[in-house]
Amino acid sequence: MMNPENYLILAALLFAIGSVGVLTRRNALVAFMCVELMLNACNLALVAGSHIHGALDGQVAAFFVMVVAAAEVVVGLAIIVMIYRTRRSTSVDDANLLKL
């Protein structure tokens, strides 16, 4: 068994990659996928924590997070599709009417 701390470091790396992706990607879908990556990094951390403490809560929590993520996808996709139909674009930078 590897040192459980390594899982946490991996989780942190994934989280960082995800957040950098949100910052850099223009396509709303890709940005949204990066958010999902962040959530999954958290899942990894939760499961690792579950392992460290020998308790189940973390794993159960991961399931909850997955369900929630699925629900988020439903809403998110609905919004992105709506935007796409209006603007023929999914670039988050194009939606730039609200400012200042």
Binding site: A28, L39, L56, F64, V75, G76, I80, T86, R87, L98
Partner: protein, 526 residues
Amino acid sequence: MSSILMPVLEMAAPTLEWRALAPVLLVFAAACVGILLEAVLPRAYRFLGQMTLVFATALVSIGFLVINWRGQYGGRLAMGSIMLDGPTYFMWASLLVFGTLAFMVFSERQLNGGATTFAASAASVPGSLDEADATAARYEHTEVFPLGLFALGGMMVFLASSDLIVMFVALEVFSLPLYLLSGMARRRRLLSQEAALKYFLLGAFSSGFFLFGIAMLYVFSGSLDLAAIHTAIEGNAGSNGLVMIGLAFIAIGLLFKVGVVPFHSWTPDVYMGAPTPVTGFMAIATKLAAVGATMRVFYVALDGERWSWQPLFAVLAVLTMVVGIIGALTQSDIKRLLAYSSIAHAGFILVALVGATQTVAAGEGTSASAIMFYLAAYGFATIGAFALVTMVRNAAGEENNIDGWSGVAAKNPWVAGLMSLFMLSFAGIPLTGGFIGKWAVFTAAWRGGYGWLVIVAVLASLVAVYFYLRLIVVMFGRKEAKGVYVGNASAWTWIPVVVGAVATVWMGLVPDQVMQLATFAGGFLR
């Protein structure tokens, strides 16, 4: 493997304290029923049906709440996932009242020529034939009511949860409907959709942070339970690095919802783009729920790390007040102005939160009671103000440009007078609830040892007065703007306005009842 499976095998049916949880369960139940109604009822009856359902639920919920409160039901409920303590009662009551008032504004159809302020068909492309058809057929999205109820229920759970994962789920339960509601404006649909997208993306981003924080705390303590985390921190002799990381990320997630600088960027855009009744609902309900949850997490779970997070919150409070107020100074859109105002108010709330006065003699105000009072006062003014925003109109819909509000006093002195009242309450001028609230949070902060923060807050509110005044000056001191009229609203808009006004004055003149309620709600239980 067996060790993993064992608890599953032993799992018993969960127990629920039905009566104590009735207020929140009813809201969720009604939301589900509302979805069913959409499927079952013919279009012509849906609006009426939904409204009946919503307001009946609200009444019954409030009734249960009051009876339970008087009966002192409470404690750790739902197998340790909900904590029904005094603050929960107070904030549930506030949420239900503000939710009900906000839903009334949802129901306004007279202002808009017989339709609600929501899009006839949110799925149709703006400017398309589909949209025109839907409008001509007088379609309406009566789903807004169940969505609103889901959001409300989510918020109630959010601030009451004593388990971090429940809190996360509740966060999403109330956030997702709000993302949708933001995108459903009938007019200026491009803006509305953009608001929804931004809110959604950034909201999801922030919930990622929140979740990561939860994970770190879990890794540290081995539990998701707030009280257990507290115990773990108290008993910790080694490094607290994980706690710090968890604390930071959870704070980011929560403060995003509160609208604290530098996690506030979404606020002006979303407030401006969303349909005004939804903005009104969000402005108070989201803030209240998020502040409640923040207090719960930090006072209950992270109390032992107080010396770490107090300076952090103090810095953020200063930043928030400064950015919120300075940002508001030059706004030309009234909804953006109110958005920046809400940021500034988040700062004032943080001031008291930092002070964290929790141990004073019985019957004396604490940080929690001050903040709850503040939120109640702020809520009534917010609901009223946003309802009034819907009433000042031009040919294209709402007149949100502040210049368009010139000389409203001459057109309708009541609208101008009441709007001024709400502005004065926001500004914290005496004889309004806003003043008592502001004074109470300052007192709590100073008693908690943060006198310097109070001085900063006082100076900040001095600058803040200017932009609230500006609106009053515009309404009373300028010539009437052309092409702007004050719409003839129905009781659905007027009731929230009048209730807001009466409550604002009431809480300004005789605040004792509400203050006693907030004070005797006591502290957060572990």
